[in-house]
Symmetry: C2
DNA sequence: CGAGCGGTTGAGGCATGTCAAGAGTTGTGG
DNA sequence: CCACAACTCTTGACATGCCTCAACCGCTCG
Protein backbone atom coordinates (compact mmCIF):
# COMPACT_ATOMS: atom_id res chain seq x y z
CA UNK A 1 0.00 0.00 0.00
CA UNK A 2 1.35 3.41 -0.92
CA UNK A 3 1.87 5.80 1.99
CA UNK A 4 -0.05 8.60 0.26
CA UNK A 5 -3.13 6.39 0.19
CA UNK A 6 -3.50 6.12 3.95
CA UNK A 7 -4.87 9.65 4.43
CA UNK A 8 -7.51 9.02 1.78
CA UNK A 9 -8.74 5.99 3.66
CA UNK A 10 -8.46 7.70 7.01
CA UNK A 11 -10.68 10.43 5.64
CA UNK A 12 -13.64 8.05 5.22
CA UNK A 13 -16.33 8.42 7.87
CA UNK A 14 -15.82 4.79 8.73
CA UNK A 15 -12.18 5.28 9.75
CA UNK A 16 -12.15 8.93 10.69
CA UNK A 17 -12.87 8.63 14.38
CA UNK A 18 -10.87 5.61 15.49
CA UNK A 19 -7.53 6.03 17.26
CA UNK A 20 -4.49 6.51 15.09
CA UNK A 21 -2.82 3.45 16.57
CA UNK A 22 -5.81 1.24 15.84
CA UNK A 23 -6.10 2.62 12.33
CA UNK A 24 -2.48 1.76 11.71
CA UNK A 25 -2.96 -1.72 13.13
CA UNK A 26 -5.90 -2.34 10.84
CA UNK A 27 -4.01 -1.04 7.81
CA UNK A 28 -0.96 -3.10 8.66
CA UNK A 29 -2.91 -6.30 8.16
CA UNK A 30 -4.49 -5.03 4.96
CA UNK A 31 -3.02 -5.07 1.49
CA UNK A 32 -3.64 -3.51 -1.88
CA UNK A 33 -4.51 -5.25 -5.09
CA UNK A 34 -4.96 -4.06 -8.68
CA UNK A 35 -7.56 -5.60 -10.91
CA UNK A 36 -7.93 -5.29 -14.68
CA UNK A 37 -11.20 -4.21 -16.22
CA UNK A 38 -14.07 -6.67 -16.30
CA UNK A 39 -12.79 -8.98 -13.60
CA UNK A 40 -15.24 -10.63 -11.21
CA UNK A 41 -13.47 -10.11 -7.92
CA UNK A 42 -16.24 -11.23 -5.58
CA UNK A 43 -18.77 -13.94 -6.26
CA UNK A 44 -22.05 -13.97 -4.36
CA UNK A 45 -22.19 -16.86 -1.93
CA UNK A 46 -18.48 -16.78 -1.16
CA UNK A 47 -17.53 -16.28 2.49
CA UNK A 48 -16.90 -12.61 3.26
CA UNK A 49 -13.23 -12.56 4.16
CA UNK A 50 -12.38 -8.95 3.33
CA UNK A 51 -13.82 -5.50 3.53
CA UNK A 52 -13.07 -3.84 0.20
CA UNK A 53 -11.99 -0.23 -0.18
CA UNK A 54 -12.02 1.23 -3.68
CA UNK A 55 -9.13 3.64 -4.20
CA UNK A 56 -9.19 4.00 -7.98
CA UNK A 57 -11.46 2.79 -10.74
CA UNK A 58 -15.04 1.59 -10.35
CA UNK A 59 -16.77 -1.55 -9.16
CA UNK A 60 -20.20 -2.87 -10.08
CA UNK A 61 -22.14 -4.79 -7.44
CA UNK A 62 -24.63 -7.14 -9.01
CA UNK A 63 -26.87 -10.03 -8.08
CA UNK A 64 -27.70 -13.23 -9.89
CA UNK A 65 -30.51 -15.74 -9.68
CA UNK A 66 -31.59 -18.49 -11.98
CA UNK A 67 -29.55 -17.25 -14.92
CA UNK A 68 -30.73 -13.66 -14.54
CA UNK A 69 -28.60 -10.81 -13.34
CA UNK A 70 -29.11 -7.24 -12.21
CA UNK A 71 -26.94 -4.32 -11.14
CA UNK A 72 -27.41 -3.36 -7.51
CA UNK A 73 -24.90 -0.51 -7.19
CA UNK A 74 -21.70 1.03 -8.50
CA UNK A 75 -18.92 1.88 -6.08
CA UNK A 76 -16.43 4.62 -6.86
CA UNK A 77 -13.40 5.97 -4.98
CA UNK A 78 -13.05 6.43 -2.15
CA UNK A 79 -15.66 4.09 -0.68
CA UNK A 80 -15.97 0.73 0.97
CA UNK A 81 -18.27 -2.17 0.17
CA UNK A 82 -19.62 -5.40 1.65
CA UNK A 83 -19.21 -4.21 5.21
CA UNK A 84 -22.36 -5.99 6.40
CA UNK A 85 -21.31 -9.42 5.16
CA UNK A 86 -17.93 -9.02 6.87
CA UNK A 87 -19.60 -8.12 10.15
CA UNK A 88 -22.04 -11.01 10.01
CA UNK A 89 -19.24 -13.36 8.90
CA UNK A 90 -21.74 -14.46 6.28
CA UNK A 91 -21.67 -15.13 2.53
CA UNK A 92 -21.68 -12.16 0.16
CA UNK A 93 -25.18 -11.40 -1.10
CA UNK A 94 -23.82 -9.69 -4.20
CA UNK A 95 -21.07 -10.27 -6.71
CA UNK A 96 -18.60 -7.56 -7.70
CA UNK A 97 -16.78 -6.89 -10.93
CA UNK A 98 -14.52 -4.09 -12.05
CA UNK A 99 -15.84 -1.62 -14.61
CA UNK A 100 -12.36 -0.22 -15.18
CA UNK A 101 -8.87 -0.92 -14.01
CA UNK A 102 -9.35 -0.74 -10.26
CA UNK A 103 -7.22 -0.50 -7.16
CA UNK A 104 -8.62 -2.03 -4.00
CA UNK A 105 -7.53 -2.28 -0.38
CA UNK A 106 -8.50 -5.54 1.29
CA UNK A 107 -9.09 -5.39 5.04
CA UNK A 108 -9.39 -8.83 6.69
CA UNK A 109 -12.91 -9.24 8.05
CA UNK A 110 -11.68 -10.92 11.24
CA UNK A 111 -9.45 -7.95 12.07
CA UNK A 112 -12.34 -5.66 11.37
CA UNK A 113 -14.63 -7.54 13.72
CA UNK A 114 -11.95 -7.60 16.41
CA UNK A 115 -11.33 -3.90 16.00
CA UNK A 116 -14.83 -2.58 16.63
CA UNK A 117 -14.87 -4.57 19.84
CA UNK A 118 -11.68 -2.86 20.97
CA UNK A 119 -12.19 0.64 19.68
CA UNK A 120 -15.53 2.07 20.72
CA UNK A 121 -15.15 5.12 18.50
CA UNK A 122 -14.78 2.77 15.57
CA UNK A 123 -17.85 0.86 16.74
CA UNK A 124 -19.86 4.06 16.62
CA UNK A 125 -18.58 4.75 13.11
CA UNK A 126 -19.59 1.28 12.00
CA UNK A 127 -23.05 1.80 13.48
CA UNK A 128 -23.48 5.05 11.61
CA UNK A 129 -22.20 3.59 8.39
CA UNK A 130 -24.51 0.58 8.55
CA UNK A 131 -27.51 2.71 9.46
CA UNK A 132 -26.82 4.95 6.47
CA UNK A 133 -26.41 2.03 4.12
CA UNK A 134 -29.57 0.47 5.44
CA UNK A 135 -31.47 3.63 4.70
CA UNK A 136 -30.03 3.75 1.19
CA UNK A 137 -31.33 0.31 0.39
CA UNK A 138 -34.74 1.11 1.82
CA UNK A 139 -34.87 4.18 -0.44
CA UNK A 140 -33.93 1.95 -3.32
CA UNK A 141 -36.70 -0.50 -2.51
CA UNK A 142 -39.17 2.37 -2.26
CA UNK A 143 -38.35 3.73 -5.68
CA UNK A 144 -38.66 0.23 -7.16
CA UNK A 145 -42.07 -0.36 -5.64
CA UNK A 146 -43.63 3.08 -5.81
CA UNK A 147 -42.43 4.46 -9.15
CA UNK A 148 -42.78 3.02 -12.61
CA UNK A 149 -39.78 2.79 -14.88
CA UNK A 150 -40.45 6.09 -16.57
CA UNK A 151 -40.59 7.86 -13.21
CA UNK A 152 -37.46 6.09 -12.03
CA UNK A 153 -35.52 7.27 -15.05
CA UNK A 154 -36.82 10.81 -14.68
CA UNK A 155 -35.93 11.00 -11.00
CA UNK A 156 -32.52 9.48 -11.61
CA UNK A 157 -31.72 12.06 -14.29
CA UNK A 158 -32.96 14.90 -12.13
CA UNK A 159 -31.12 13.69 -9.06
CA UNK A 160 -27.88 13.35 -11.00
CA UNK A 161 -28.23 16.91 -12.16
CA UNK A 162 -28.50 18.06 -8.55
CA UNK A 163 -25.47 16.00 -7.57
CA UNK A 164 -23.36 17.89 -10.10
CA UNK A 165 -24.55 21.22 -8.75
CA UNK A 166 -27.86 21.57 -10.49
CA UNK A 167 -26.21 21.57 -13.91
CA UNK A 168 -28.48 21.90 -16.90
CA UNK A 169 -26.29 19.42 -18.79
CA UNK A 170 -23.99 16.61 -17.71
CA UNK A 171 -22.54 13.26 -18.79
CA UNK A 172 -24.02 10.01 -17.52
CA UNK A 173 -21.56 8.47 -15.06
CA UNK A 174 -22.35 4.92 -16.21
CA UNK A 175 -23.30 3.12 -19.39
CA UNK A 176 -26.96 3.15 -20.28
CA UNK A 177 -27.34 -0.61 -20.17
CA UNK A 178 -25.93 -0.71 -16.67
CA UNK A 179 -28.19 2.13 -15.62
CA UNK A 180 -31.14 0.26 -17.09
CA UNK A 181 -30.32 -2.79 -15.02
CA UNK A 182 -29.87 -0.67 -11.92
CA UNK A 183 -33.26 0.92 -12.48
CA UNK A 184 -34.87 -2.48 -13.04
CA UNK A 185 -35.58 -2.34 -16.76
CA UNK A 186 -34.21 -3.65 -20.05
CA UNK A 187 -31.81 -1.61 -22.21
CA UNK A 188 -34.43 -1.48 -24.97
CA UNK A 189 -37.04 -0.13 -22.63
CA UNK A 190 -34.58 2.42 -21.28
CA UNK A 191 -33.73 3.57 -24.78
CA UNK A 192 -37.40 4.04 -25.67
CA UNK A 193 -38.15 5.72 -22.37
CA UNK A 194 -35.37 8.25 -22.88
CA UNK A 195 -36.81 9.06 -26.27
CA UNK A 196 -40.29 9.69 -24.91
CA UNK A 197 -38.88 11.79 -22.05
CA UNK A 198 -38.00 14.45 -24.61
CA UNK A 199 -41.60 15.56 -24.18
CA UNK A 200 -40.99 15.92 -20.45
CA UNK A 201 -38.06 18.25 -20.33
CA UNK A 202 -34.96 16.12 -20.80
CA UNK A 203 -33.04 15.13 -23.91
CA UNK A 204 -30.09 12.87 -24.57
CA UNK A 205 -27.14 13.42 -26.84
CA UNK A 206 -25.19 10.21 -26.60
CA UNK A 207 -24.15 9.96 -22.97
CA UNK A 208 -24.91 13.64 -22.43
CA UNK A 209 -28.05 14.59 -20.53
CA UNK A 210 -29.61 17.93 -21.38
CA UNK A 211 -32.38 19.24 -19.20
CA UNK A 212 -34.57 21.37 -21.42
CA UNK A 213 -37.42 22.02 -18.99
CA UNK A 214 -36.56 21.43 -15.37
CA UNK A 215 -40.03 22.25 -14.13
CA UNK A 216 -41.66 19.72 -16.40
CA UNK A 217 -39.12 17.06 -15.48
CA UNK A 218 -39.62 17.77 -11.78
CA UNK A 219 -43.39 17.45 -12.20
CA UNK A 220 -42.87 13.96 -13.56
CA UNK A 221 -40.16 12.82 -11.15
CA UNK A 222 -41.73 14.34 -8.01
CA UNK A 223 -38.48 14.20 -6.03
CA UNK A 224 -38.96 13.19 -2.40
CA UNK A 225 -36.34 13.53 0.29
CA UNK A 226 -37.50 10.22 1.74
CA UNK A 227 -36.53 8.46 -1.49
CA UNK A 228 -34.03 10.61 -3.32
CA UNK A 229 -32.18 12.09 -0.39
CA UNK A 230 -30.75 14.47 0.84
CA UNK A 231 -28.29 11.73 1.38
CA UNK A 232 -26.86 10.27 4.47
CA UNK A 233 -23.18 9.61 4.65
CA UNK A 234 -21.73 7.36 2.01
CA UNK A 235 -24.55 7.29 -0.43
CA UNK A 236 -22.99 9.66 -2.91
CA UNK A 237 -19.85 8.60 -4.64
CA UNK A 238 -20.02 10.08 -8.10
CA UNK A 239 -21.72 7.19 -9.86
CA UNK A 240 -25.19 8.27 -8.91
CA UNK A 241 -25.85 4.74 -7.79
CA UNK A 242 -25.93 4.63 -4.01
CA UNK A 243 -23.32 2.49 -2.34
CA UNK A 244 -24.78 -0.70 -1.06
CA UNK A 245 -22.38 -2.44 1.22
CA UNK B 1 -44.45 -1.13 31.70
CA UNK B 2 -45.29 -4.42 33.33
CA UNK B 3 -42.44 -6.15 35.15
CA UNK B 4 -43.03 -9.44 33.33
CA UNK B 5 -42.35 -7.69 30.03
CA UNK B 6 -38.76 -6.80 30.81
CA UNK B 7 -37.38 -10.34 30.33
CA UNK B 8 -39.06 -10.55 26.93
CA UNK B 9 -37.28 -7.41 25.81
CA UNK B 10 -34.05 -8.43 27.44
CA UNK B 11 -34.20 -11.62 25.42
CA UNK B 12 -33.91 -9.77 22.10
CA UNK B 13 -30.49 -10.00 20.48
CA UNK B 14 -30.32 -6.25 20.57
CA UNK B 15 -30.54 -6.05 24.37
CA UNK B 16 -29.21 -9.44 25.35
CA UNK B 17 -25.54 -8.56 25.79
CA UNK B 18 -25.58 -5.17 27.45
CA UNK B 19 -25.01 -4.82 31.19
CA UNK B 20 -28.01 -5.29 33.44
CA UNK B 21 -27.57 -1.81 34.90
CA UNK B 22 -27.53 -0.20 31.49
CA UNK B 23 -30.52 -2.20 30.37
CA UNK B 24 -32.44 -1.02 33.38
CA UNK B 25 -31.41 2.58 32.75
CA UNK B 26 -32.64 2.37 29.18
CA UNK B 27 -35.94 0.80 30.21
CA UNK B 28 -36.42 3.35 32.98
CA UNK B 29 -36.64 6.13 30.41
CA UNK B 30 -38.94 4.12 28.17
CA UNK B 31 -42.67 3.71 28.43
CA UNK B 32 -45.39 1.48 27.09
CA UNK B 33 -48.31 2.48 24.96
CA UNK B 34 -51.34 0.60 23.63
CA UNK B 35 -52.75 1.36 20.23
CA UNK B 36 -56.09 0.32 18.76
CA UNK B 37 -56.27 -1.46 15.43
CA UNK B 38 -55.70 0.57 12.28
CA UNK B 39 -53.92 3.47 13.90
CA UNK B 40 -51.09 5.20 12.07
CA UNK B 41 -48.55 5.53 14.85
CA UNK B 42 -45.59 6.69 12.77
CA UNK B 43 -45.72 8.90 9.72
CA UNK B 44 -42.86 8.83 7.24
CA UNK B 45 -40.90 12.07 7.33
CA UNK B 46 -41.44 12.63 11.04
CA UNK B 47 -38.30 12.94 13.18
CA UNK B 48 -37.32 9.59 14.68
CA UNK B 49 -37.70 10.18 18.39
CA UNK B 50 -38.30 6.64 19.59
CA UNK B 51 -37.18 3.12 18.94
CA UNK B 52 -40.32 0.99 18.90
CA UNK B 53 -40.55 -2.47 20.45
CA UNK B 54 -43.62 -4.53 19.60
CA UNK B 55 -44.76 -6.61 22.57
CA UNK B 56 -48.23 -7.64 21.40
CA UNK B 57 -50.19 -7.27 18.19
CA UNK B 58 -48.76 -6.53 14.75
CA UNK B 59 -47.48 -3.47 12.94
CA UNK B 60 -47.33 -2.79 9.21
CA UNK B 61 -44.49 -0.69 7.88
CA UNK B 62 -45.43 1.00 4.64
CA UNK B 63 -44.16 3.68 2.31
CA UNK B 64 -45.98 6.37 0.37
CA UNK B 65 -45.18 8.47 -2.62
CA UNK B 66 -47.32 10.61 -4.85
CA UNK B 67 -50.58 9.13 -3.65
CA UNK B 68 -49.37 5.54 -3.96
CA UNK B 69 -48.59 3.26 -1.08
CA UNK B 70 -46.90 -0.08 -0.54
CA UNK B 71 -46.25 -2.45 2.34
CA UNK B 72 -42.59 -2.78 3.22
CA UNK B 73 -42.76 -5.18 6.18
CA UNK B 74 -44.84 -6.50 9.03
CA UNK B 75 -43.42 -6.52 12.54
CA UNK B 76 -44.65 -9.02 15.13
CA UNK B 77 -43.73 -9.57 18.77
CA UNK B 78 -41.15 -9.46 20.06
CA UNK B 79 -39.22 -7.23 17.66
CA UNK B 80 -38.02 -3.71 17.26
CA UNK B 81 -38.38 -1.31 14.36
CA UNK B 82 -36.96 1.93 12.96
CA UNK B 83 -33.62 1.47 14.67
CA UNK B 84 -31.67 3.00 11.79
CA UNK B 85 -33.64 6.25 11.74
CA UNK B 86 -33.12 6.61 15.50
CA UNK B 87 -29.40 6.12 15.14
CA UNK B 88 -29.07 8.60 12.32
CA UNK B 89 -31.37 11.03 14.11
CA UNK B 90 -33.11 11.30 10.76
CA UNK B 91 -36.70 11.28 9.55
CA UNK B 92 -38.52 7.96 9.33
CA UNK B 93 -38.41 6.53 5.81
CA UNK B 94 -41.54 4.47 6.42
CA UNK B 95 -44.88 4.93 8.11
CA UNK B 96 -46.28 2.43 10.58
CA UNK B 97 -49.82 1.42 11.40
CA UNK B 98 -51.25 -1.23 13.67
CA UNK B 99 -52.88 -4.28 12.09
CA UNK B 100 -54.39 -5.30 15.42
CA UNK B 101 -54.59 -3.93 18.89
CA UNK B 102 -50.89 -3.47 19.65
CA UNK B 103 -48.72 -2.86 22.66
CA UNK B 104 -45.50 -0.96 22.07
CA UNK B 105 -42.52 0.08 24.16
CA UNK B 106 -41.07 3.43 23.19
CA UNK B 107 -37.36 3.90 23.83
CA UNK B 108 -36.17 7.49 23.44
CA UNK B 109 -33.75 7.70 20.53
CA UNK B 110 -31.42 10.06 22.33
CA UNK B 111 -31.01 7.61 25.23
CA UNK B 112 -30.38 4.86 22.74
CA UNK B 113 -27.66 6.85 21.01
CA UNK B 114 -26.08 7.73 24.32
CA UNK B 115 -26.19 4.12 25.45
CA UNK B 116 -24.26 2.50 22.63
CA UNK B 117 -21.50 5.03 23.22
CA UNK B 118 -21.29 4.00 26.86
CA UNK B 119 -21.88 0.25 26.63
CA UNK B 120 -19.59 -1.37 24.10
CA UNK B 121 -21.41 -4.70 24.30
CA UNK B 122 -24.56 -2.90 23.30
CA UNK B 123 -22.69 -1.22 20.45
CA UNK B 124 -21.70 -4.63 19.12
CA UNK B 125 -25.32 -5.77 19.35
CA UNK B 126 -26.47 -2.71 17.42
CA UNK B 127 -23.84 -3.40 14.77
CA UNK B 128 -25.02 -6.97 14.36
CA UNK B 129 -28.65 -5.96 14.29
CA UNK B 130 -28.10 -3.29 11.64
CA UNK B 131 -25.97 -5.59 9.51
CA UNK B 132 -28.70 -8.24 9.62
CA UNK B 133 -31.40 -5.76 8.74
CA UNK B 134 -29.31 -4.41 5.93
CA UNK B 135 -28.94 -7.86 4.49
CA UNK B 136 -32.68 -8.45 4.76
CA UNK B 137 -33.44 -5.41 2.66
CA UNK B 138 -30.84 -6.38 0.09
CA UNK B 139 -32.49 -9.78 -0.19
CA UNK B 140 -35.79 -8.02 -0.60
CA UNK B 141 -34.42 -5.84 -3.40
CA UNK B 142 -32.97 -8.92 -5.08
CA UNK B 143 -36.26 -10.77 -5.13
CA UNK B 144 -38.00 -7.68 -6.52
CA UNK B 145 -35.51 -7.27 -9.35
CA UNK B 146 -34.69 -10.85 -10.21
CA UNK B 147 -38.02 -12.64 -9.88
CA UNK B 148 -41.33 -11.90 -11.54
CA UNK B 149 -44.48 -11.71 -9.46
CA UNK B 150 -45.39 -15.34 -10.01
CA UNK B 151 -41.99 -16.47 -8.79
CA UNK B 152 -42.16 -14.13 -5.82
CA UNK B 153 -45.46 -15.58 -4.73
CA UNK B 154 -44.22 -19.14 -5.18
CA UNK B 155 -41.06 -18.53 -3.19
CA UNK B 156 -42.97 -16.72 -0.47
CA UNK B 157 -45.39 -19.61 -0.07
CA UNK B 158 -42.57 -22.14 -0.05
CA UNK B 159 -40.48 -20.16 2.39
CA UNK B 160 -43.42 -19.77 4.77
CA UNK B 161 -43.90 -23.50 4.72
CA UNK B 162 -40.29 -23.99 5.80
CA UNK B 163 -40.66 -21.40 8.54
CA UNK B 164 -43.47 -23.42 10.08
CA UNK B 165 -41.36 -26.55 10.00
CA UNK B 166 -41.84 -27.67 6.43
CA UNK B 167 -45.58 -28.09 6.92
CA UNK B 168 -47.57 -29.24 3.94
CA UNK B 169 -50.38 -26.93 4.96
CA UNK B 170 -50.51 -23.68 6.92
CA UNK B 171 -52.46 -20.45 7.34
CA UNK B 172 -51.23 -17.23 5.74
CA UNK B 173 -49.97 -14.96 8.51
CA UNK B 174 -51.23 -11.82 6.78
CA UNK B 175 -54.14 -10.77 4.59
CA UNK B 176 -53.74 -11.44 0.91
CA UNK B 177 -54.07 -7.80 -0.10
CA UNK B 178 -51.25 -6.88 2.27
CA UNK B 179 -49.13 -9.73 1.00
CA UNK B 180 -49.77 -8.58 -2.55
CA UNK B 181 -48.52 -5.11 -1.71
CA UNK B 182 -45.49 -6.53 0.06
CA UNK B 183 -44.67 -8.62 -2.99
CA UNK B 184 -45.11 -5.63 -5.29
CA UNK B 185 -48.33 -6.54 -7.07
CA UNK B 186 -52.04 -5.70 -7.01
CA UNK B 187 -54.58 -7.80 -5.07
CA UNK B 188 -56.26 -8.77 -8.34
CA UNK B 189 -53.02 -9.97 -9.81
CA UNK B 190 -52.24 -11.91 -6.62
CA UNK B 191 -55.61 -13.58 -6.71
CA UNK B 192 -55.18 -14.66 -10.31
CA UNK B 193 -51.62 -15.78 -9.71
CA UNK B 194 -52.68 -17.99 -6.80
CA UNK B 195 -55.26 -19.58 -9.06
CA UNK B 196 -52.72 -20.39 -11.76
CA UNK B 197 -50.25 -21.73 -9.20
CA UNK B 198 -52.58 -24.68 -8.69
CA UNK B 199 -50.85 -26.12 -11.71
CA UNK B 200 -47.51 -25.72 -9.93
CA UNK B 201 -48.06 -27.58 -6.72
CA UNK B 202 -49.81 -25.19 -4.36
CA UNK B 203 -53.48 -24.57 -3.71
CA UNK B 204 -55.38 -22.11 -1.55
CA UNK B 205 -58.42 -22.71 0.59
CA UNK B 206 -59.27 -19.26 1.89
CA UNK B 207 -56.27 -18.21 3.93
CA UNK B 208 -55.00 -21.79 4.08
CA UNK B 209 -52.07 -22.77 1.89
CA UNK B 210 -51.90 -26.38 0.79
CA UNK B 211 -48.77 -27.61 -0.90
CA UNK B 212 -49.82 -30.37 -3.23
CA UNK B 213 -46.52 -30.93 -5.03
CA UNK B 214 -43.51 -29.55 -3.20
CA UNK B 215 -41.09 -30.58 -5.92
CA UNK B 216 -43.01 -28.74 -8.60
CA UNK B 217 -43.35 -25.65 -6.43
CA UNK B 218 -39.65 -25.73 -5.64
CA UNK B 219 -38.82 -25.98 -9.33
CA UNK B 220 -40.74 -22.77 -9.91
CA UNK B 221 -39.56 -20.86 -6.84
CA UNK B 222 -35.91 -21.96 -7.06
CA UNK B 223 -35.16 -21.07 -3.45
CA UNK B 224 -31.75 -19.47 -2.95
CA UNK B 225 -30.09 -18.96 0.40
CA UNK B 226 -28.77 -15.61 -0.84
CA UNK B 227 -32.34 -14.37 -1.27
CA UNK B 228 -34.61 -16.51 0.88
CA UNK B 229 -32.30 -17.16 3.79
CA UNK B 230 -31.35 -19.08 5.95
CA UNK B 231 -32.05 -15.97 7.87
CA UNK B 232 -29.84 -13.79 9.92
CA UNK B 233 -31.00 -12.64 13.29
CA UNK B 234 -34.20 -10.67 13.42
CA UNK B 235 -35.52 -11.45 10.02
CA UNK B 236 -38.04 -14.02 11.16
CA UNK B 237 -40.85 -12.87 13.35
CA UNK B 238 -43.83 -14.98 12.40
CA UNK B 239 -45.28 -12.73 9.75
CA UNK B 240 -43.09 -14.04 7.00
CA UNK B 241 -42.29 -10.49 6.07
CA UNK B 242 -38.74 -9.70 7.16
CA UNK B 243 -38.38 -7.00 9.73
CA UNK B 244 -37.12 -3.84 8.20
CA UNK B 245 -36.03 -1.37 10.80
C1' DC C 1 -80.11 -6.43 8.48
C1' DG C 2 -77.30 -3.53 5.85
C1' DA C 3 -72.71 -1.31 5.20
C1' DG C 4 -68.12 -2.07 4.56
C1' DC C 5 -64.37 -4.70 3.38
C1' DG C 6 -61.58 -8.53 1.50
C1' DG C 7 -61.43 -11.53 -2.09
C1' DT C 8 -62.48 -13.10 -6.83
C1' DT C 9 -63.42 -12.84 -11.67
C1' DG C 10 -63.86 -10.73 -16.26
C1' DA C 11 -62.78 -7.37 -19.94
C1' DG C 12 -59.75 -4.39 -21.75
C1' DG C 13 -55.57 -1.56 -22.07
C1' DC C 14 -51.07 -0.12 -21.20
C1' DA C 15 -46.34 -1.07 -19.80
C1' DT C 16 -42.68 -3.84 -20.25
C1' DG C 17 -40.09 -7.77 -21.99
C1' DT C 18 -38.44 -10.54 -26.06
C1' DC C 19 -36.56 -11.26 -30.43
C1' DA C 20 -34.35 -9.51 -34.37
C1' DA C 21 -31.77 -6.39 -37.18
C1' DG C 22 -28.87 -2.55 -38.11
C1' DA C 23 -26.00 1.76 -37.04
C1' DG C 24 -22.33 3.55 -34.51
C1' DT C 25 -18.27 3.00 -31.54
C1' DT C 26 -14.33 0.92 -29.50
C1' DG C 27 -10.58 -2.06 -29.21
C1' DT C 28 -7.36 -5.27 -31.37
C1' DG C 29 -4.36 -7.57 -34.30
C1' DG C 30 -2.52 -8.10 -38.87
C1' DC D 1 -3.28 2.22 -40.75
C1' DC D 2 -6.92 -0.59 -41.79
C1' DA D 3 -10.04 -4.53 -41.21
C1' DC D 4 -12.49 -7.02 -38.29
C1' DA D 5 -14.73 -8.38 -34.06
C1' DA D 6 -17.24 -7.23 -30.21
C1' DC D 7 -20.02 -4.37 -27.97
C1' DT D 8 -23.48 -0.60 -27.01
C1' DC D 9 -27.31 1.64 -28.48
C1' DT D 10 -31.35 2.10 -31.16
C1' DT D 11 -35.51 0.83 -33.56
C1' DG D 12 -39.27 -2.15 -35.03
C1' DA D 13 -42.55 -5.89 -34.45
C1' DC D 14 -44.68 -8.67 -31.45
C1' DA D 15 -45.97 -11.12 -27.19
C1' DT D 16 -47.23 -10.96 -22.58
C1' DG D 17 -47.22 -9.61 -17.82
C1' DC D 18 -49.44 -6.67 -15.01
C1' DC D 19 -52.68 -2.98 -14.00
C1' DT D 20 -57.24 -0.67 -14.13
C1' DC D 21 -61.96 -0.60 -13.87
C1' DA D 22 -66.07 -2.82 -12.75
C1' DA D 23 -69.07 -6.13 -10.88
C1' DC D 24 -70.16 -9.57 -7.70
C1' DC D 25 -69.77 -12.82 -3.68
C1' DG D 26 -69.24 -13.78 1.09
C1' DC D 27 -68.02 -12.52 5.46
C1' DT D 28 -67.84 -9.53 9.60
C1' DC D 29 -69.43 -6.27 12.50
C1' DG D 30 -72.02 -2.54 14.03
Amino acid sequence: MRPEELPEIRHLHLFRDMSQANFETLMASSYAQNFPQGLEMVRQGDPADFLHIVLEGAVELFAQWSGRECTMAVVRPVSTFILAACIRDAPYLMSARTLERTRIILVPASDLRAMFRRDSEFAVSVINELASCYRSVVRNAKTLKLRNSRERVASYLLRQSLLVGGAQSYILPVEKRLLASYLGMTPENMSRTLRTLEADGVKMDGARVIITDREKLTALAIPDRLIDGPDDIASTNGSGLPVAE
